[in-house]
Symmetry: C2
Subunit: 279 residues, 2 copies
């Protein structure tokens, strides 16, 4: 079955009008095996899978990489076709924002922490475009990756607080053998940076081991880890041990935890996280 | 056919699961003939009409009449049954807001003018609850009254900017023989205030006549009308001649116009408007 590439909202609505069970995979394109994993999860959820490819200006800050973000539609479509996806929705900016988006969804307070601290307005932009995509596609299920753990958390809040009749399914982070989380932004890295980038996940794994061995001085662990990476040339935005249930800083009572990090190699900002449980 | 009164979201969703064409009439209850007119319009649009009755705390300011707003569910249901409506959705505050609503829809800049100038945050509260109701009911059509002209304008923007697959139908303002626009807040008026309240619509009609006779000094007309009502004991929030298409202050080129007013009799805030066309 050939992949259908649809670029306008009216055509997509017409195509989906008779579908009763749709799964949506929202992406910004430049698809890698992490995205394809989400598409495969979607195909398990619903007979009709829509993968959206849209580099959303609203979620980029003024000094971020909107203009340089890799746009690789032809290659993306080949990968989607190979994975058995049926429909790609790849709208232009003017199709998604024909007039200035003066009405937005505001994010909860947690959106100002972690990635939001360095990217003001980012999660408002994410929540707004996801709300639009949900209304355009009207899926029964939507798939998001756990690599963007804070985004996933905010999307679940969006669904809950706006009563969206949509089931959110989370896909595990896909990694290279080195442990490096797959990311479109890995393509910005030099060979030496990519070599060093592996250390981010290793550092998170060391933190998990440390906590699971009984060290609950989370502030000290965070500070030491951050200092360690900084000494190795990283610019660390944050390393934070949090409740996986609330995303608030973890305390001694929390058993469901996640350690999250964002750090830069040169200009390239990488994020990663590991969820874990204390017994 | 008996009126079905549903108070929880899960039951409403179950009831509506098999409906293919639904019209929603969002109200705050205390129904009068203006609301019933909207219900009749809804019945012309769809075989299944849901009237929501919910006094939305999010759209009331700290010093407004949330606590005193009339709640008359039994009488409302009698009127709806008589009109042939099928379903009332009357949720509690905790059903609509089981957790703090930390994610909201922000309104466009026009929301800070006219009624929004005196009611900061009001239209964010309206847009947020309407988005929630749309997601709960998933109607094909929703009916709003023209008496809340600015609200109607913002709801149309909500639908447009968030790609909601919902047709918005506007119902004409219903009036007493005196011209007074029907409003739940009319119930707050003393007999003398209600007598005086007629003047609001008469003043708007005089403005329309004045403009249609060729007076295009809108600022002067607004100032004179405001002064006139103030001298008669009104507290005037605004009288404004605007483009009916953009809600921006009208200029000489605009042909589709609306004159809007908000003014207080004692503590009771009344609004009204008249749309008109210049040939």
């Amino acid at each position: 079955m050939a992949l259908e590439i649809i670029t306008d909202i009216a055509s997509l609505r017409a195509r989906l009008a008779q579908e009763r069970n749709i799964a949506l995979v929202p992406t910004m394109g430049n698809l890698h095996a992490g995205h394809i994993h989400l598409v495969r999860l979607a195909l398990q959820q619903a007979p009709c899978v829509v993968t959206s490819i849209f580099v959303n200006p609203l979620q980029f800050g003024a000094n971020e990489d909107l203009d340089n973000y890799p746009r690789t539609l032809d290659a993306d479509c080949e990968k989607l076709a190979a994975a058995g996806a049926q429909i790609v929705f790849a709208p232009s900016v003017s199709e998604m924002y024909p007039v200035a988006q003066t009405m937005c969804v505001t994010s909860p307070p947690i959106a100002n922490e972690l990635c939001g601290a360095a990217r003001p307005g980012h999660f408002d932009g994410v929540a707004t475009v996801v709300m639009k995509l949900f209304n355009i596609v009207q899926p029964q299920t939507a798939i998001f990756g756990k690599k963007d753990f804070q985004q996933l958390f905010i999307i679940r809040e969006l669904v809950r607080q706006f009563n969206l009749p949509i089931n959110i399914v989370a896909g595990d982070t896909q990694r290279e053998d080195s442990g490096l989380a797959l990311s479109s932004r890995n393509g910005y890295l030099s060979n030496a940076q990519k070599q060093e980038a592996q250390r981010l996940h290793r550092t998170l794994q060391l933190i998990v081991d440390n906590v699971q061995q009984g060290n609950h001085d989370y502030a000290a662990i965070e500070a030491q880890s951050s200092q360690y990476l900084t000494q190795l040339g990283w610019i660390v935005d944050y390393i934070s041990i949090r409740s996986a249930l609330t995303l608030m800083p973890a305390n001694a009572e929390d058993k469901e935890l996640v350690v999250l990090a964002a750090a830069r190699q040169g200009k390239t900002r990488l994020i990663d996280n590991i969820e874990f449980t204390l017994s």
